[in-house]
Symmetry: none
Subunit: 330 residues, 2 copies
């Protein structure tokens, strides 16, 4: 769990992490989806038997399954795809509908569409380890109160003891990986950063825009390490990040929600840029901190985040939650 | 708009209102779906032409359309259905999959399922009025920056000019309405409050618990009016609210997200108690302020919320947004 946690944000949007790992492994194959050689139709799932449903969301139309495929442990994720505007004409022309209810001007139907217009995004991890199975099993969260002293006596030792690898972060900063995905790059070692789409965003629509700005400075683990000396960095990320998004996606700053997480998913300073109106996972007040608020707080009190009590959620299986329990802080 | 704004929180759960209206109109017809006489297959949508997409959500896989059906104005809602556990065996046996990407233990596919296992919930309102169209058109939100001076020169005059009726709030406080719904009542005129379920919560499960604590003091419009003199009130709401929820619903404080909104939906101080893990509408960082943070801020700086710059979203049709535009603050 530790090494996985050092990677990208563990999204509460179920399924995205799995797709992320799969896409990251894709490497240079940008055109896997379309091209001269369409893969053959197959059905690897015909050998899959379900052991249990790890979690599911009726709201998001997604399900995580644990099972066996041809004798191996496997995790399968099934997620319905968004309705696409460009498929509507064909959908309306070629579907068949069965009436559920009609009353006055209202009627509801079950629509059966041509399968190619209504695909299900399917991800398979096989063979899957117990770690995979645990990761996708739904976890309860608990709100934790962390004083400045708690941070130094409980959280910091825990983080330091985790041996979390940040090599993938450095690979991005050094253009050894994902260079083609970078939207903006400021090379300044003090105030510079790299801005790129988060793996949760497939970039097919602006509706769920989600980018991450990764600071070049390597010694800022989280909000707790920020002081007023970092204001130039934070201002730079904020201004240049917004400008780059306006230029590339034609989305103005008033349409953006820009924030940090505490706790973050990985302990190298990064800032989230998401579209206002889209309920991105992790934009809840219990974990997110508006960058504009962070800047204002540090302008008022240079040591704000070193002394302040912070609250944040931790999953039931998070080792840090155990530490807070042992310390009698829960 | 004024009288609407003075009422309860407007829920952002897309589509549910339309389904509710349709189901309400269904009346006693419980067995519309299955029965001896299955409705015939039809395709009323073959005559539908899209005028515009009113709104859509990639996260929830839903789309609202405005268009024309056989010459009449119509609203059509298309929503993918949740993945169903009881259909999995057949889905795995009879689907075909096309590989998107494979790397090591990860692979992702586009799955085409038998249509009867992957239906799209379709609702039609026809003929639709302009009121229907407006209701389902997504309102864009814009993030607004309000300094302490902006509050006094723009927002406060706007609020005062709105003549918003708070009689329904006073009815609750005076037990003239909803008395049977009250979970806790502290009658103290200074630090007292009434705690009751929010209308968004049907109380059928704890998973989406949502209660509101309404302060008895009548002259606190919002966060902006809070100073350190209100700390006893805020502490009282926090402690007694959490205790009452633990006693009634067996939910501990570590499972709660307790916050204020800015801007609030109505200008009489109230605090939201929601279950951690449930993405209640309005728990996003751009609008919510943890009560524990508010208390800590006022302990540090008695005038914190009178001087501080605050950010919040406003819908496109909000009169206050127009005032900020006119003042050149957007």
């Amino acid at each position: 769990m530790a090494n996985v946690a050092a990677k990208r944000e563990i999204s509460s949007a179920e399924g995205e992490e799995l797709s992320r790992e799969a896409k990251r492994a894709k490497g240079d194959d940008k055109n896997g989806e379309e091209g001269g050689n369409e893969p053959e139709w197959e059905n690897i799932l015909s050998t899959f038997t379900t052991t249990s449903v790890l979690s599911d969301s009726a709201r998001e139309k997604i399900m995580f399954l644990h099972g066996k495929m041809a004798g191996d442990e496997a995790v399968v994720v099934l997620e319905k795809t968004p309705v696409r505007e460009d498929s509507l004409a064909e959908l309306f022309r070629d579907s068949k509908l069965r009436l559920d209810m009609r009353n006055d001007i209202y009627s509801s139907y079950r629509l059966q569409a041509p399968p190619h217009l209504n695909e299900i995004k399917t991800t398979v991890v096989c063979p899957a380890t117990e770690k995979h199975v645990k990761k996708y099993r739904r976890q309860e969260s608990f709100l934790v109160e962390e004083t400045g002293d708690d941070y130094r006596s409980i959280t910091l030792p825990y983080i330091q003891g985790q041996s979390l690898s940040l090599q993938w972060v450095y690979n991005i900063l050094e253009k050894k990986a994902e260079a083609e995905r970078v939207v903006y790059d400021d090379p300044d070692p003090e105030v510079g950063f790299v801005l790129l789409p988060d793996l949760k965003w497939d970039q097919k629509q602006v509706d769920d825009l989600y980018l991450i700005a990764i600071a070049r400075q390597k010694d800022i683990k989280s909000l707790r390490d920020l002081s007023s000396e970092h204001l130039p960095l934070l201002h730079n990320i904020f201004q240049k990040g917004k400008a780059a998004i306006l230029e590339r996606y034609n989305l103005s700053a008033s349409k953006l929600r820009v924030y940090l997480h505490y706790q973050p998913s990985y302990y190298h300073l990064h800032v989230h840029f998401t579209k206002l109106g889209h309920d991105a996972p992790g934009c809840g007040v219990e974990r997110a901190h508006l960058l504009s608020d962070v800047i204002q707080n540090l302008q008022t009190d240079p040591q704000y985040y070193r002394t302040r009590t912070l609250w944040f959620p931790l999953r039931a299986d998070d080792g840090l939650l155990g530490r807070f329990r042992e310390a009698g802080r829960l």
